[in-house]
Symmetry: C2
Subunit: 640 residues, 2 copies
Amino acid sequence: MPLITFKPSGKQIEVPPGTELLQAARDAGISIDSPCGGKGSCGKCIVHVLSGNIESDSLGVLPRTAVADGYVLACKTKVLTDPVEVEVPEQIGKSGGKFTKATTEDFSLIRQELLPERYEYEPLTIKWLINVPKPQLEDGLSDYDRLCRALKKFWGECEIVCSLPVLRKIPETLREKDGAATFTIIYDRGRCYLIDIQPGDTTVHHYGIAVDIGTTTVAVELVHLYLGEVISVRSDYNDQIDCGLDVISRINYAKKPERLEELRKRVLDSVNRLVRQTAETHNVALRDISTAVISGNTTMIHLLLGINPEYIRLEPYTPAIRESPFLTAEEVGIAINPQAWLYFSPHVASYVGGDITAGILCTDLAVEGSEICLFIDIGTNGELVIGNSEFMLTCACSAGPAFEGGGIEFGMRAALGAVERVNVDPKTGKATYWTIGNVKAKGICGSGMISLLASLFISGWIEPSGKLDRTRKSKYVIIEGRHARYIIVPAKESANGKDITISEMDIENMIRAKAAIYSACNLMLEQVQMTFDDLSKIYIAGGFGRSLDLEKAIIIGLIPDLPREKFHYIGNSSLMGTYMVLMSKEFREKQLELAKKMTYVELNTSPSYMDQYTGALFLPHTDINRFPTVKKLKDSFSTK
Amino acid sequence: MPLITFKPSGKQIEVPPGTELLQAARDAGISIDSPCGGKGSCGKCIVHVLSGNIESDSLGVLPRTAVADGYVLACKTKVLTDPVEVEVPEQIGKSGGKFTKATTEDFSLIRQELLPERYEYEPLTIKWLINVPKPQLEDGLSDYDRLCRALKKFWGECEIVCSLPVLRKIPETLREKDGAATFTIIYDRGRCYLIDIQPGDTTVHHYGIAVDIGTTTVAVELVHLYLGEVISVRSDYNDQIDCGLDVISRINYAKKPERLEELRKRVLDSVNRLVRQTAETHNVALRDISTAVISGNTTMIHLLLGINPEYIRLEPYTPAIRESPFLTAEEVGIAINPQAWLYFSPHVASYVGGDITAGILCTDLAVEGSEICLFIDIGTNGELVIGNSEFMLTCACSAGPAFEGGGIEFGMRAALGAVERVNVDPKTGKATYWTIGNVKAKGICGSGMISLLASLFISGWIEPSGKLDRTRKSKYVIIEGRHARYIIVPAKESANGKDITISEMDIENMIRAKAAIYSACNLMLEQVQMTFDDLSKIYIAGGFGRSLDLEKAIIIGLIPDLPREKFHYIGNSSLMGTYMVLMSKEFREKQLELAKKMTYVELNTSPSYMDQYTGALFLPHTDINRFPTVKKLKDSFSTK
C-alpha cells in the first residue's frame, strides 16, 4: 500500500491505491477544508504534491498553470501505487455558510436527476484569493502593475482586461488587508477579465444566476457557485404580458421605439424582481452575483436587449442575433454585479431560441450515440426537436399561453393555490380538486386544466368539440345564452369567495393550443418520413406545473397515444439547461455544438399544416383511432 | 519598361520600373480617387493585382488578409520590372471634403516639422465600407452572423466584439442601403472590435482627437483620419485650477470622494468643451470621432478617470496605474462616439506621466543610435529626461504654474491679447511690448514674463534677488510700502482700461519656478556624472507661448548658458506626441518601449537638492560664472 506523507506536519499513513487524497488526509488526522463537499467547486482543498505520482479526475477550479506546478484538489485526486509527499497549506477553517431553504421558493422547477452524473465543474467566473505584494519605491510599479503580476504568477501569461469601476477600487482594496484580495475573474481565450476585486478572502461569496425568460413566465435560480448548489428558485409572470400574449403581439407592440423600450423595461423588471427575491431571502449581496446565464426564445432576448425584433416577424424571418456577444450586467440592466458577464444560450432561428438549446441539454439528444428522440417544449410557443446526436430538425408552432394559465379567465401559474388536479363526477358533474400547497384555490394552472378537460371529456360533460353538454342538468354547468361555463371551485371554497370557473371560450383556447402542438409533431414526423412509433423517447418540457398527468394529456390529444414508458416529463428544461450552462464550460460548448447541428423547418409554409391542425381541433382528435387507449376508456365510460 | 494593364478598361501603359501604380494609372488616363493625397490613410486607391510582381511600401489601412489576396494601395505600391495586370474597382468619386481653418484656432501648437518624414499610417480605428449580403430564409443566418461573415471575409479569421448599442443598430443599418454599411473597427490582438456601423459609405467621416491634459492647460486637436490631417486645435485652462494650482493641491483637494468627483467633472468639462468647439467649427458630428489618444501627467489622468490619487502623494509614491487599459469614451465621459476607445499615453511613475512619454516621441531620444540629449518639459511640474535610445533617466520638480500664467496676478495663457515680448528702457523704465494678435493687451503669458524679467534685469530695474530697484525713479515702478510693482501696460493701452502690472511677489514666483527647473537639471546631470557640456541636444517643451526667446531664458537662468544651436524649443510636445500616437501604431509601440526604458529618479530625497535650489534663486544664479554670456551682457549694460 502506498505511503503518504503530509507536510509540514510529517504525519504519515498507508492507504489502498485509488484512495482519494482528501480521505487519506482525514484518516491521517489532518483537517483539510472542503466546504463544497468534494464537488471541486470551492478550491479550498488545494494541496501541493511534492513527490510521487497521483491521478486527478479533474482540475476543478484550478487554473492550468497551478496544476503544472503540482497543485491539485485533494477531493479530485487519487493516490496510485507510489509513495506520495504532499504539502497541505494552513487551513483557514472558514465555514461554507449555512442556507435555509424558504418554503415560498419553488424547488420543483429544478430536476437534479436530469444532471449528468459526472461533469467538469467550470463556471464562467472564478473567485480566487491572491496576495498582492506591497508597493515599493524601488520597483516603480503601479498598483495595477503589481496586481497584474500577482495574477499572472498564478494564472500564467495572459492579457488582463479591467473596467473602469474595478480600476477605481484597486488602490483601496490592495491596502485594506495588506494586499490580500479576492479576484473575480473570467478567463476567455487568452484574456483574463477582472470582474471584481474585494479586500481579504471573500471566495465563499460567489454566486451566479440562471435565468429563463419565457413569453409568459420568467424563472430565476440563484446558485452558490462556491458550493455548487442551487439555493433559491423563483418564478413569476413576465410583466410584458399586458402588452400582448404571444411573441407576434409583442413584436407588433414593439414597432415604436418607445414601446420597444417599454417592453425592455418590463421584462427587466420581472427578472430583477426575481433576482432580488432570491438574493434577499438568503442574504446574498447582489454584487456577489458575478455571472448570469440567460435563456429565452429569440424574441424575448431581442426585447430584453432592446433590439428591434421586427424582422423576426417579416419574411425571411431573420433574427438580429443568434449567438449574443458577451455583455455586462450593467449595459443590459440586470441587477447583479454591474461588471458581471451575461452569457446567453444561442438561438437556432427566429422561432427556436436559447430556451430550446438549453432544454435539449437535459435530454438524450445531447448524448452521443442516442436513438431518435422527440423533444416537445410546450410554452406560449411550442417548439419541437427531433433527431439524435447525429442530426436534428426543429420547428415551432404557436400554441398560445393557455398551458401556462394565460388567456384563460381563471388561469394562473403553477403557484400556491393553483388547482393542479381535478376529477369530475360523471353523475353530478361535481369537481374534486387538489391545489398546490393544499390551500384555498385561487385559480387553475396548466396541469389542472389538462386534468379538468380530460375528466370533463371522459365523464361526458363536454363533447369532443369542447362544448359543454347542455342536455344534462348539473348545478356546476351554467348556461348563459349561447355560452356556458363550468364551476370548478364553488365560491365558498375559493380563496377570494367567488366561483372559479372555466368557460367554453377557455376550453376552445386549450383545444387550439393542444391541436397546434399535436399537429406540429405529426407534420414534423411526416417530413422526416417517420411515425410516432419510430421514437425511442419523447421528452415533454413546459411550465404546466409540478407534474404532467400523461394519461390525461393523451386523453385530450395533446400528446400521442404511445407506450407510457417512452414519455419523460422534464418540466422547465430551459431553466435546468441554463443551470447546467452556468455550472460548466462543458455544457456551454455542448450547447453551441447542438445549436449548430439543428436545422430549422418552417411549418407554416407547408400546405398540409392547416389540415393537420383542423383535424386536431377535437378531443382527442377527429380520427379517434389514433388514440386507441382513449377510445377504449371513453367506450367503457359510456357503457357504465 | 514594364507594361501595366488596367482592368476592366484594358488600358495599357509602359512606365519606368519604380513608378507608383497611382501615377501609372493617372498617366494611362484612369481616374483613381486619392483624397488623402497618397498618405495611405483613406484606402480609396485600393486596387487588385491580378498578375505580376509589385512592391508595396506600406499596407496603409489595408488589413493583412486583403493584402494576402492581392489588394494593395496604388499610392503605396511601385511596379518592378515585370508586366503587371491590375484591376481597378469602380470609382465613387466622392470628394474628400473641404475644411476652412478658422482663425481662432491655435495651429501654433502643432509643429509638423517634428513629425518623422516617413511613418506607417495606422490609426487605432479604421472605417471601411463593406457589403453585407441580404437575409435569406435558407441560410438561417442572423443579421449579426451575416455581418460577421462579411467582416471576416475581408479581415480574416478573428473574434468579433460588439457592444450592445452597436448591436441595436445592426438590423436597420443592414437594410437601409441594401447591406452597404461602413464599419468602424479596432483590430487588436486577434479581436475585431466593432465601434460603429453606419448605412452606406461614410468612410470620409472619420475623425480622431489628440488630448493633452496639463495641470494648468488642456489642449485638443481634431484630426481628420481619412485625410490624415489636423483640422482644428484649441486649448484652454483646466477647469480644475479653482481647486488648486499644482498636482499636490489637487490631490489634497481630492481626499473626499465628492471632491474627487468634482475634479473629474471639471477636467471632463474642459476637455469636452474643447472637443465640441473643434468639432462644431468644422461641422464634424461627435459620433464620427471614433478614437481619442489622451496624454497627461499621472495625477491628471487619475483625476480624469476618477481614481483616488492619494497614494501618488504618500510614500512610496505609488500610482494606481501606469498603462491604462482600453476604456470607452462612454465610461470615461468624453463627448465623442460613446463606443470609441480611449488610448492613454503610458506613465513612467507618479511624477513622470504620459505627457512626457508622448513628448519625447518628438525628440532624438526616440531615435535609435542618438547621442545624449536632455528633454525639459516646463509645465506646472517640470519634468526632465536625460539619455539616448539606450538608457533614460527621468525626474520631476515642482515649478508651479507661473510659466503658464498661473499664480501671477496678470498672468494668462498664450492666447489672443497676451503680452509675449517686452523691452524695457534702461533710462525711463518704460516697457515696449508685443501682444499675440497685435490687439490690446489683456495680460502676460509665459514667454512674455521671461522676456520682461530678462529685460528688467539687464536694464537694471530689478536686482539679482528679483527686488525692484527703489533707488531710481520711474513712473512705471510703484512703491506700496514694503511692496513694489511694475507697470507693463498702462491703463489707457490695456483691453480693460486698467494697468497691467507685475508685482515683486509675481517675480518671486517666476524665480522659484526657474530655480526649480535649473537646479533639477543640474542635480540630474550630477547623478549621471555628466555636465551640461556633455549634452548634444537640449529640448525645451512647454506652454510658454508660440516661441521661446532663448537669450532671455538664459538671462533669467531658466536654462544653462550653452551654445545656442544645442537648444530646440518644441512647444507643446505632449500634444504633438499624442497626435503621433493617434496617427500610427508604430508610435504607440515606440512610446511603450520608451516608457519601459525610463528609470525614475527621486530628486526630493537627494540631500544636495535644497542647496542647488537655493543657489538658483537669483538672476541668473548666485554663481554668475555659470552664465558667462549673461555676465558679459550685464557688464556691458552697467558700463553704458
